[in-house]
Symmetry: C2
Subunit: 344 residues, 2 copies
C-alpha cells in the first residue's frame, strides 16, 4: 500500500509531514510518496538523518503551494503544479492508494470533488472527524465541508457515517442521532424536520439505526455513534467542543499552579492529567476522512505535528483497506430521494 | 420593588422557587409575589418554617400548571389560570416589576410576546444568557428563542446584547462578535453574510463595536462581550458548552478517584475544584433575560435549585432597575432596515 502525502500542507510543513511520513513508512508497513518542492523535501529528509532517499519513500516534485489566501474553489486549478493538485492527480491515476493533506480544507474539498470525483449518486462530500464523547468516539458528519444542506444530503451523511462508524469504531449497529435543538420530532428548522422523517424511514426499512434528535449537550456528555448535521451546525458544534476543552484546560492549569500544595498535586497526577489531555487531543486521531469521494482522501489538521501526520497516514491506510467506499457505492440507491423507498 | 415568581415552574417546584423567593425577600430588599396553587404554596411555606405568610410575601392563586407536554404556542391561552399566565398578566397590569419563571421556554416566550408585547419596533424577542468564557462573561444572543432569523433580527440582537452587556457586565464599549464558521467576511450562509454587512454599517455609524466573525472555538477560549447568532446556532453552541463542561467534569472526577494518591490530591484541592465547578455552573447566574419584551421577564433554568431562583430574582431586580428596556426603546430606529442608515 502506498500513501501519497502533501508535504507542503499545514503550519509545520515540510518537516512535520516528512517526519510523520517516514515514521509511518517504518512502522506501518506502507510506502509513502511525498509531493512538494524537491529541494525542500530533500533538505527536510537530510535534517531528519536521511541524506539518501530511504527505502519505500518517493518524491514527486511539485513547484507550487496552495495557501490560505488562495480562492478555495479555484486554487487546485490555478496552481496546477501545487503539491495538493499533483497529489490528487497521482491518486486519480492510481499511483497511490490514499492521499493525506493538511492544506486548505476548502481547496482540498474542491480539488477532491473535481479531480477524484464523488461516488456516483452521492450529492456532496462530508468531513467526518471522530470526536471524543462520554460514549466513546462519535463520527460527526458533516463538520464543515458542506455548510448548506438539503434533507437528502443529511440522509446520505447518515448512511456514510454509519458505514464509517462500523468500520472505525467497531460498532456493529451504530446509533445515528440528528443534531437538533430539542429531542421532539417537531424541533428545529425545516431542514431538520424533513431529515428526521427521512432518517425514520431509513430506520423503518432496517437500513440504519436512527436514535432520533439529540441536543448539543447530550451529544457530548452521553453520545451517539454517528451525529448527523449540516456543515454549518457541525462546524459550530466541533469548534465549540474544542474551545470549551481548551478553556477548561487553561482553568485546570491555573488551578494546579495556584499554590505550592496544588503544584505538588500536579506533580503527583502528571500521568492522569496527560491522559485527560490526550483524550481531547486532535493529534491522536490524526485526520478526518472526506467521505463521499471515490478514493480515500484524509484531511489532516492544519496545525498537525509529525505525530499527527503519522496518525493521519495510519488512518488513510485503514480507510483504504476498509472497503468503506465500496459500502457506500453498493448502497447509494437507498440514500436517494428519487429511489422508491417502498420498492425494497 | 416587587418580583413576581411562577412558583409552579421548573423541576423542583414549588419548593425551590418558594425557598429562593423567600431568601430574596429577606436578603435583597424586594417583595415577592408567588403565583400557583395556594394550598401547595402554603404547604411549601410551612415546610420552610413559615406557617404564617412572611412580610413582603404574597400569593396570587392560579389553579393550573403549564407542562412540557402543552403546546408552547397556545399553552398560555389554553391554560388561562396557569401560574405562568397569571404571572404574566400581573406583570402587564403593573402588579409587579419583573417576572421570574422556570417553566417551558416556548410557552413563556409566546406568553410574554402576546400578553406583555415586544418593545415597539423589535421584531423578535431573544434569550440572552451570560455564558462563561476565557474573556470573562459573554452575552449570548439568541440562545434559542427565535430559531430561524433574518439579518435584521441579528442586527437587533446585536444592539440589545450590547445594551445588556453594558449594564450587566459593566463593559463601556462591548465588543460584538458574529458567530460563524470562519473569520472572513465571506464565511457562513446568506444570513451571516448579510448580517455581517449590517453590523459593519452599525459599527461605521459608531452605534456598536463590531469585532467581526468569530468561530465557536475562539468564542469560548478567547471570548467577546456579545455573541450574536440565530437561535438555532446559539442553542447548539450553548448546549455544546454545557455538554463538554459536564463531560470534562466527569473525566476530572474519574481522574481524582483513580488511586489513593489522586484521592489525596482531590482532598487537598477541594476548594479549587469547587471554584472551577462554580465557574461553569448555571445556578450562579440564575436566569436568562428575555430581551425585546417591554417589561422584565427572566427565564430561570428548568432544573433551578432554590439558590438558582434566588439568583434569578436578583437578576430580575437588576434588569428592572437597569433601564435597559428604555435603552432599547430609545434606539429602536437605528435597529431597523427601514431606517436610512446614511441619514444619521
Amino acid at each position: 500500500m502506498k500513501i501519497i502525502i502533501d508535504a507542503m500542507g499545514g503550519d509545520n510543513a515540510p518537516l512535520a509531514p516528512v517526519e510523520g511520513g517516514l515514521r509511518a513508512a517504518k512502522e506501518l508497513g506502507v510506502e509513502v510518496l511525498f509531493t512538494g518542492r524537491e529541494a525542500e523535501l530533500r533538505a527536510a529528509l537530510g535534517k531528519l538523518g536521511h541524506p539518501e532517499m530511504p527505502q519505500g519513500v518517493e518524491i514527486v516534485p511539485a513547484s507550487e503551494v496552495i495557501t490560505m489566501e488562495d480562492n478555495p474553489a479555484r486554487a487546485f486549478k490555478d496552481k496546477k503544479d501545487s503539491s495538493m493538485t499533483v497529489g490528487l492527480n497521482l491518486l486519480k491515476e492510481g499511483r497511490g492508494d490514499a492521499f493525506v493533506c493538511a492544506g486548505s480544507t476548502g481547496a482540498l474539498l474542491s480539488g477532491a470533488t473535481l479531480i477524484i470525483k464523488r461516488i456516483r449518486g452521492i450529492r456532496r462530500a462530508a468531513l467526518a472527524p471522530v470526536i471524543p464523547t462520554a460514549g466513546g468516539g462519535c463520527v460527526l458528519i458533516d463538520s464543515g465541508a458542506t455548510a448548506e444542506c438539503t434533507p437528502e444530503y443529511l440522509l446520505q451523511f447518515a448512511f456514510m457515517g454509519a458505514y464509517y462508524a462500523r468500520r472505525f469504531l467497531g460498532v456493529a449497529e451504530p446509533k445515528v442521532g440528528l443534531l437538533n435543538i430539542g429531542a421532539e420530532a417537531s424541533k428545529g428548522l425545516e431542514l431538520q424536520k424533513t431529515a428526521y422523517d427521512l432518517l425514520q424511514q431509513a430506520d423503518a426499512q432496517g437500513r440504519i439505526h436512527f436514535a432520533g434528535n439529540i441536543e448539543g449537550r447530550e451529544a457530548v456528555c452521553q453520545g451517539v455513534d454517528v451525529l448527523v448535521c449540516d456543515g454549518y451546525s457541525g462546524n459550530i458544534f466541533l469548534k465549540t467542543i474544542e474551545g470549551t476543552a481548551l478553556f477548561m484546560s487553561q482553568c485546570l492549569k491555573e488551578m494546579f499552579l495556584s499554590s505550592t500544595k496544588t503544584k505538588l498535586c500536579a506533580l503527583a497526577m502528571k500521568e492522569q492529567v496527560a491522559q485527560l489531555k490526550r483524550r481531547f487531543d486532535a493529534a491522536e486521531i490524526g485526520g478526518t476522512a472526506l467521505l463521499g469521494i471515490s478514493k480515500p482522501v484524509i484531511k489532516a489538521h492544519g496545525s498537525s505535528s509529525a505525530y499527527a501526520f503519522f496518525n493521519a497516514v495510519r488512518q488513510a491506510k485503514l480507510v483504504a483497506e476498509s472497503g468503506i467506499i465500496q459500502d457506500i457505492d453498493a448502497n447509494v440507491e437507498h440514500m436517494r430521494l428519487t429511489a422508491e423507498p417502498s420498492a425494497q
